[in-house]
Structure formats: structure tokens, C-alpha cells
């Protein structure tokens, strides 16, 4: 599979003008709030929803008019969808049976798939006799047993508790990379998206807002939705006063003037939302890097969280300005009410659209 190209130009409100191509072996996550169209996209890929417009291609062949069962795309569902009236082994053998694979071959494949998810001893059980995590593994094994070209996963870990979820995240990525399968993964959990994926497609309002590897997505969000949606973010509103190459001057609503990196602002006088990550803000003067920009702030709240300190400040009229600092021996603990000076590098400060 050289290129799984899926282009879609829809008129519907759910998914608008979606273009996405996916090379073989990639782990791609569709991330977005509920109702952003990511599940609809997945269903169109699987063939349960038809694209009103546009074309979906697999291996260069259009699969728009191919029914789901002939696409060879496996799917893992949020509630596992293991057939309750079949044993685990029968569940796994089902996709092989419908493909008319011989009995001995089938048994070997089922065994291999079960071993792969370390569930070899559970073949004779019914799904209801398994725990959530075990069911999830079986669902995974069932999706992989017929060696599909593409595996779709629709929030497969949504029903598991936190610890199990983290364990399964690792197992799924590990399996996917080991077997070299292509995965399209849908989730609304950004941590899951960031830790598992090769690339993440952030969905909102039926459009892909940004499609990038996790680190790029976090560090260099292309618009204020992505900046807000991925990780924690501080915003300061203002107007562009001046643009010079890759820096610009922003006049904040409180009257302060700061430097920022223009991302999707183009002209002077435009409204902008400046975004700074909490961990890139520093209040210890000794640690401030050269060229850092400083602003006055007032401490409102100090929260001790073990590994980090989380401090809420009033900065330029924003009373929800958060900074995170590592719990180091030389790090001061701030008292609410004190006036301090904070600073950051202009390159960490991204001037985004005001929407």
C-alpha cells in the first residue's frame, strides 16, 4: 500500500472538505471534540456511511462503491462488539470462516492471534466471562487475525480505567509497529493521541484543523483551536501592531506591548490571540533566558501538585493565566497576593487567529 488516499468534498455539515492521505504502516489518530466528524470519517472509511461527494481510495483503487465486507478493512469498536453467543476462539475464527479458510489453517491463525495478545489460554471462554481489558485484547486480535491492510479503531479504550488504558495504549502501538499495519485511530483523549500516533489529525467542525506529528502539534499549533485543544494553554488577546518577518508586535488589550511569532495573522490591526504554554513561562529571574520578554503579574493561587507547581496569575487582565514549574530544590513557592515579574521567549509566544 503505497498511498491510501482519501479525498472527500462533502456538502454535509458533519464533514466538510476533507483531504487526507495515509502511507502504509502509519498510525494516524483522528482527534477532536464530540461531534467534530471524526467518527463519521471512520465510518466512511469502513463503508458504513457513504460519502455524499468525493472519493475514497485504497491502494489507488476507489472503494466508494465496495460494501464494507469486501473492503478488507478491520474495525475495533468502543464496546468491543465481541459476539456474545460465540466463544473467544469462535469470535476469532469468524472472519477466517467467512473467508473460506481451511480448518487447520484457521486454528493456527487463531492460536497465533491469541498468543499475540497473550490470551492463548482463553480460547474456550465466552466474552462475558472476560474483563474489559481482556475483551479489548480479543477484539484487537479478532481485527488483526485476517491480516487486514487497514485497521480502524473507534475509541477502543474509552471503556477502560486509566491504568489499563495506559497499558493498552502501549500494547496497541507496539503491536501496530511490530506487524507494520496501518491504523486509523479515533479518540477524544489528547494524551492518547499524542502518545500513540505517528501523526494526529485534529478535527473540529467537520474539518481537519491540523495534521501533524504529535510534537509539532503541541509545540507549533497552527490556529487557536489546536492550541486550545491540545494541552494547556494561556491566551492573551490583543491587536497586531506591527509585523516584521517572523516576529510581530502585539498590543494587548490591557495596554502592554509584547513580541510574538506570527502564525496565521497577516495584517496590522488584526485581532489576535497570543498563546503561551504554561511550562514556558518563568518567574525566577535567574532562569530567564536572554531576550525573554517580561510582564508584571499578581499571584492569585498556588497549587502544589507533587512533581510540579501550578500557579494561577493575573496577567494583563487574564485572571486564568497558569504557569507550571518543576518542583526543584531552588524553586520558590509563591504566596498568593505577591506581585512578581514573569517572562518568556518571544519564539514561544505564538500570535494566532482570534476565533
Amino acid at each position: 500500500m503505497s498511498a491510501c488516499k482519501k479525498s472527500y468534498d462533502g456538502e454535509t455539515l458533519v464533514v466538510k472538505d476533507l483531504n487526507l492521505s495515509l502511507p502504509k504502516g502509519e498510525f494516524l489518530t483522528m482527534l477532536g471534540p464530540s461531534g467534530s466528524g471524526k467518527t463519521t470519517c471512520l465510518m466512511m472509511l469502513a463503508g458504513f456511511e457513504t460519502a455524499t461527494h468525493g472519493e475514497i481510495k485504497l491502494d489507488g483503487v476507489s472503494i466508494n462503491n465496495i460494501p464494507p465486507h469486501k473492503r478488507g478493512i478491520a474495525m475495533v469498536f468502543q464496546n468491543y462488539a465481541l459476539f456474545p453467543h460465540m466463544t473467544v476462539a469462535e469470535n476469532l475464527s469468524f472472519p477466517l470462516e467467512v473467508r473460506k479458510i481451511g480448518k487447520s489453517d484457521r486454528e493456527a491463525k487463531v492460536k497465533r492471534a491469541l498468543d499475540m495478545v497473550e490470551m492463548g489460554a482463553f480460547g474456550g471462554r465466552r466474552p462475558a466471562q472476560l474483563s474489559g481489558g481482556q475483551q479489548q485484547r480479543i477484539a484487537l486480535a479478532r481485527a488483526l487475525v485476517f491480516e487486514p491492510e487497514l485497521v480502524l479503531m473507534d475509541e477502543p479504550l474509552g471503556a477502560l480505567d486509566k491504568q489499563l488504558r495506559e497499558k493498552m495504549q502501549f500494547e496497541i502501538t507496539d503491536l501496530a509497529h511490530r506487524l507494520g499495519i496501518t491504523v486509523v485511530y479515533v479518540t477524544h483523549d489528547q494524551t492518547e493521541a499524542l502518545t500513540m500516533s505517528d501523526r494526529v489529525a485534529v478535527f473540529n467542525d467537520g474539518r481537519i484543523q491540523q495534521l501533524a506529528p504529535p510534537d509539532v502539534l503541541y509545540e507549533e499549533p497552527e490556529n487557536s483551536f489546536v492550541a486550545q485543544f491540545i494541552g494547556e494553554n494561556n491566551t492573551l488577546e490583543g491587536t497586531i501592531a506591527e509585523i516584521k518577518g517572523d516576529t510581530c508586535v502585539v498590543k494587548l488589550d490591557g495596554g502592554e506591548v509584547i513580541d510574538a511569532k506570527p502564525v496565521n495573522v497577516t495584517k496590522v490591526g488584526e485581532r489576535t490571540r497570543v498563546s503561551i504554554r504554561p511550562e514556558r513561562v518563568e518567574y525566577n529571574k535567574d532562569r530567564l533566558q536572554e531576550g525573554a520578554h517580561t510582564l508584571k503579574a499578581k499571584v492569585l493561587e498556588f497549587i502544589y501538585m507533587g512533581d510540579i507547581f501550578r500557579t494561577r496569575l493575573d496577567v494583563a487582565g487574564n485572571r486564568d493565566f497558569i504557569i507550571k514549574t518543576r518542583n526543584a530544590p531552588d524553586q520558590a513557592r509563591l504566596t498568593p497576593g505577591t506581585e512578581i515579574e514573569i517572562g518568556w521567549l518571544p519564539s514561544d509566544c505564538r500570535a494566532l487567529d482570534a476565533n
Binding site: 469502513a46 463503508g47 458504513f48 460494501p67 464494507p68 465486507h69 469486501k70 478488507g72 478493512i73 478491520a74 474495525m75 469498536f77 464496546n79 462488539a81 459476539f83 456474545p84 453467543h85 469468524f94 472472519p95 467467512v98 473467508r99 479478532r142 481485527a143 485476517f146 480502524l152
Partner: protein
């Protein structure tokens, strides 16, 4: 281990103890007892209601299927005497004598016709034979009654008889009795029983009848002719010369009359023969002997077209066999109805469960619509639809599918019953199917398709097995309802489309053969329970879901 370390939870050998030192199990069961009692109290009203109005009558009804006390209760002496009879030829004369006395009392109590009807189930003609005999038996006794009366008018008077037979104590109480009070219990005079055993016996029977049924004083009622017959029998075999009690002269004169050659007597056997020739054939006596026991398998044998004969159990003649055919027909037609309900109901339930809830609710109302119409109206409507000059035939003729002189017979036969009952029972199939299907998540179907299954494989391997509990629940419901259905087959079934329940109703309300009706009902109940058990073994009752 020291005493201070004894922890009840760690001490594996002893039972676990509660804080107050009682075993934990005991204190738990005490705590639960209050809960159980409260649950019982909440259930009790319904439980009692069901027991009294449902379980008890059914149990009583089922008991009637084996109960047969009427024969031995009505003719106690005869049935006892027949026990020794070998069943060939006619029974000995003594049996005729016992039968005379038994039947006489029964006729006075007007119980002989009931016994006649009972025996008529087993032997045609018994009913009229007994009715006739009730009237005819008086002829035997009157021969003696008239002769004694001609000798002395007192023999047909109440008081002399009472004085002669009753004890002094009792006579005083009886004389003092006034209307509305309790009558004093009759007691025989000392020595009478030894001197005139049959007379004493018959007079006692007369006394108890007069006291208990007629509520009259024995001083006012002259005894019935069986007493005179008994008196003749006693006087002809016993010596009364030593008697010195009340009316000794009268009794001795009677003894003299009996001893004289011109005294007219009647042989019991001939007497019975005169009433009806059938009494001189062994058949009626065999039937009596056969049905003398208190409990009988006769009704059940009858229900399966068999018959109890002196030679054992045998099949009824071809033209009398009806119930096995009816049972088979009932089961077969119930099965056909259940199958057609599944075939018609499954797609509807499937559509209902896959529609958005607003449309599903609207359709559900249409499914339930028949429930809002009276059963009789619906059945009668089918009669109008299906009859030869009815709507469907008219349409078929109009289209030209059927010739006018060759209209389809769709009513008053099995077709009519199956069509009408399928329609009536369909909601009972659809509802459980729907409630089961609506719990099957759609993701199963999607999962199956994504795994490569075609639409048909998805349905057959994934959807259908999960909908089986609904089919099971609906089938049990429809089949059990169908097997006992009565009104619809009665109206549209004609003769070939009726069920066993129609026959049961006939025996309950028309032929009044409740024993047979009870036996048929018991068999029906047993068949249902058997099928239920079989279903449990094959499919498993846990798999039945109503939602």
C-alpha cells in the same frame, strides 16, 4: 498461640463469630429473616388470592379426573358384594338383594340418576336403566307393604313402627321435638338388631333420611316399602316368638302371615328382570364391578381412546375414537400457528427494532391495535372475511382467480382456525421478539461486516442467534396460548378445525362429564409442561427473554 492473639477471623478452625459472640452465619440469617418476612408479607395477599381462586380450583378439578366415589357411595352393599363375584354369567341372588336396598335408598335420595349418568359414560343405556329402576323398585316392596297393611293397618302407620324400632329414650325426645329444633339422633331399641337385622338396618336408613333430608319426625312419617321388604325377609328366616316389646302381637301376626302358604313373595332377580331385561344381562353388573373402586383410571383411558374392560385395557372401537385425533390436531395446529406467527412476526419485529423510536412507537401501536378490539369482534370479522360469500372470495372471483361456482372454503375448517388464530396471537410473538431485538446493539452487525461477512452471513451467524431468545419466548407464549384456545376455534373452526379445548368445554357445560373434562385438561396441562421441560433441556429456559 496465646489468648490475646485469638482473632475470630484468623482462627480458621472455629466458625466466624460476630461482635456479640454468636456465629456469624447465625446472626446473618437472623438479620435476613426480618427482610424475608417482610417480603413474604408483601407477597402474601396475591399468593393467597392465587391459591384460593386459581390453584385450589385447578387442583380440585384435576382430582375429579380420577375420583370415582359416586359408585361405592351410592351402592355400598352392592359394590362390596360384587367384589367376590367372578364376573362370568349373572351375579348371585344376594347381589340382587343388596342392589335392591342400595338402589331404593338412592332413589329416595334421587341419587340413582346421577349414578346412572356416571355409568352411562362407560356403558350406553345405563342412564335410562337407572332412571327406570328408581320408579320400578317400588313395585317389589309394595307387594309386601300391601299384604302387611291388609293384615293390620298399623303396619302402614308411622307411630307403631317408631315405637317398635326405637329406644325408649329416643322416643321420648322425638315426641317432645318441635319444629325448628334439632331432631334427636335415632337409636335402635335393644335386641331389635339381633331379632330383625335387615329391618333394623333399613329402618335406620329410613330414619336417617327422614331426619337429615326431610327434617320430619319419625312419629309422623310412615316407613317406605323397602322396610316392609326387609321385614318379610327377617320374618321368613327368624323366630320372633320370644319377642315381648311394643306391638309384639302385631309382629307375631305378621310372622304367621309370612309363614302361611298364601303369602305372596317376589324374587329380587325376577323383580329386577321385570323392571328392565338389561338387569338380567351380565354387562351392567360387570360395569358396576369395574367402576366400584374409589379411584379410577377410566377417565384418562377414555381421554386417549381406550377403555377399561374386565379383560383389561383395550382400544375403543374405531368409530368411538376421537380424543387422540383431537390432541394430535391441537398440537399440530398450534405448531402451524406458532410457525406462521414466527414467519410473519420476525420481519416486523426486526423492522420495529431498527427504526428510530418515534416511527417504532407508531408501528407498535398498529401491532397492539388488535388488543383494543374485542376478541369476539375480531374473530367474527374473520368469519365475514373468509366465508364463501365473503370479502376474500368475492375479490378472488372478481379478479378471476377463482370460479364463482368453486369458491374457496376458508372458514369452518382448519384453514379458518389457523388464519384467525395467527392473526390474534401475532402480537404475543412480536412483542417479546421486538424487546429482545432492540437490545441487540447495531455494532455487532457492523463488526461482522467489517470482519468480512456478507449481509446474509451477518444475519444468520451474528444477528439471528442473538434474537433466538425472543423467538423462544414468543413461541412458548403463542404455543401455550394456542394449545388451550377456545373461542376462536369454536367460532371459525367448524368440525375439522376445533381444538381439544372445545371438547373440554363441551364436557364441562353440555355433557356434564366433568371427570372426562378434567382428565382431558390434565393431559393438556401435562403436554404443556412436558414441552416446557423439553424446551428447557434443548434451548434452556435462561435463554427466554421478554426484554
Amino acid at each position: 498461640m496465646t489468648a490475646s492473639t485469638t482473632d475470630p477471623e484468623k482462627d480458621a478452625k472455629g466458625p466466624m463469630l460476630a461482635a456479640d459472640g454468636t456465629p456469624l452465619k447465625k446472626s446473618l440469617s437472623r438479620a435476613l429473616r426480618v427482610q424475608k418476612l417482610r417480603a413474604l408479607a408483601l407477597v402474601a395477599p396475591l399468593l393467597i388470592f392465587v391459591l384460593v381462586t386459581f390453584i385450589a380450583p385447578i387442583a380440585d378439578m384435576l382430582f375429579r379426573s380420577v375420583e370415582n366415589q359416586i359408585v361405592s357411595n351410592t351402592m355400598p352393599k352392592t359394590t362390596r358384594a360384587l367384589g367376590d363375584w367372578d364376573g362370568t354369567d349373572l351375579p348371585p341372588d344376594a347381589v340382587f338383594e343388596d342392589a335392591y336396598y342400595d338402589l331404593f335408598v338412592a332413589a329416595e335420595r334421587k341419587e340413582h340418576t346421577r349414578l346412572g349418568s356416571r355409568l352411562n359414560y362407560e356403558m350406553t343405556g345405563a342412564s335410562s336403566l337407572f332412571r327406570k329402576s328408581g320408579r320400578g323398585l317400588d313395585d317389589i316392596g309394595e307387594v309386601y307393604q300391601d299384604q302387611f297393611k291388609d293384615l293390620d293397618k298399623n303396619w302402614d302407620e308411622a307411630e307403631p313402627w317408631a315405637e317398635m324400632m326405637g329406644s325408649e329414650d329416643w322416643l321420648e325426645k322425638e315426641a317432645a321435638w318441635e319444629k325448628g329444633e334439632r331432631l334427636p339422633k335415632f337409636r335402635l331399641r335393644d335386641g331389635v338388631e339381633e331379632m330383625l337385622p335387615r329391618t333394623a338396618d333399613q329402618y335406620s336408613a329410613f330414619a336417617s333420611f327422614t331426619h337429615n333430608e326431610d327434617r320430619k319426625s319419625l312419629l309422623k312419617e310412615e316407613p317406605w316399602s323397602a322396610v316392609h321388604t326387609a321385614l318379610y325377609q327377617d320374618l321368613s328366616t327368624r323366630d320372633v316368638s320370644g319377642y315381648s316389646g311394643p306391638h309384639a302381637d302385631m309382629l307375631k301376626a305378621a310372622a304367621a302371615l309370612v309363614a302361611s302358604p298364601e303369602f305372596e313373595t317376589v324374587d329380587f332377580k325376577e323383580g329386577f328382570g321385570e323392571i328392565d331385561k338389561d338387569w338380567l344381562k351380565p354387562a351392567i353388573w360387570r360395569t358396576l364391578k369395574l367402576y366400584a373402586p374409589k379411584y379410577t383410571s377410566g377417565y384418562f383411558l377414555n381421554s386417549v381412546d381406550m377403555k377399561l374392560t374386565p379383560e383389561g385395557i383395550e382400544k375403543r372401537p374405531e368409530n368411538e375414537r376421537i380424543y387422540l385425533t383431537l390432541f394430535k390436531r391441537t398440537l399440530f395446529m398450534s405448531l402451524v400457528i406458532t410457525c406462521s406467527c414466527i414467519l410473519l412476526g420476525y420481519p416486523v419485529a426486526y423492522i420495529l427494532s431498527n427504526l428510530p423510536s418515534r416511527q417504532a412507537n407508531l408501528l407498535m401501536i398498529l401491532v397492539l391495535l388488535p388488543f383494543w378490539t374485542s376478541l369476539l369482534v375480531r374473530t367474527s370479522a374473520w368469519k365475514i372475511m373468509l366465508q364463501q360469500q365473503g370479502v376474500i372470495n368475492d375479490v378472488l372471483v372478481w379478479i378471476g382467480l377463482v370460479a364463482d361456482d368453486n369458491r374457496l372454503a376458508m372458514i369452518n375448517n382448519q384453514t379458518g382456525t389457523i388464519i384467525a388464530m395467527t392473526h390474534i396471537l401475532l402480537p404475543f410473538m412480536i412483542l417479546p421478539m421486538y424487546s429482545v431485538m432492540s437490545t441487540i446493539p447495531k455494532t455487532y452487525v457492523r463488526a461482522a461486516k467489517s470482519l468480512g461477512a456478507t449481509d446474509w452471513t451477518t444475519f444468520w451467524r451474528v444477528y439471528f442467534p442473538q434474537s433466538v431468545p425472543g423467538i423462544g419466548a414468543g413461541s412458548i407464549l403463542v404455543f401455550i396460548l394456542a394449545i388451550g384456545y377456545y373461542i376462536t376455534p369454536e367460532i371459525v373452526g367448524g368440525t375439522t378445525g376445533t381444538f381439544i379445548s372445545n371438547r373440554i368445554a363441551y364436557h364441562i357445560s353440555t355433557s356434564l362429564n366433568w371427570g372426562l373434562a378434567a382428565a382431558l385438561g390434565a393431559i393438556l396441562l401435562a403436554v404443556v409442561l412436558l414441552l416446557y421441560w423439553a424446551y428447557d433441556r434443548i434451548v434452556g429456559i435462561d435463554n427466554v427473554k421478554l426484554g
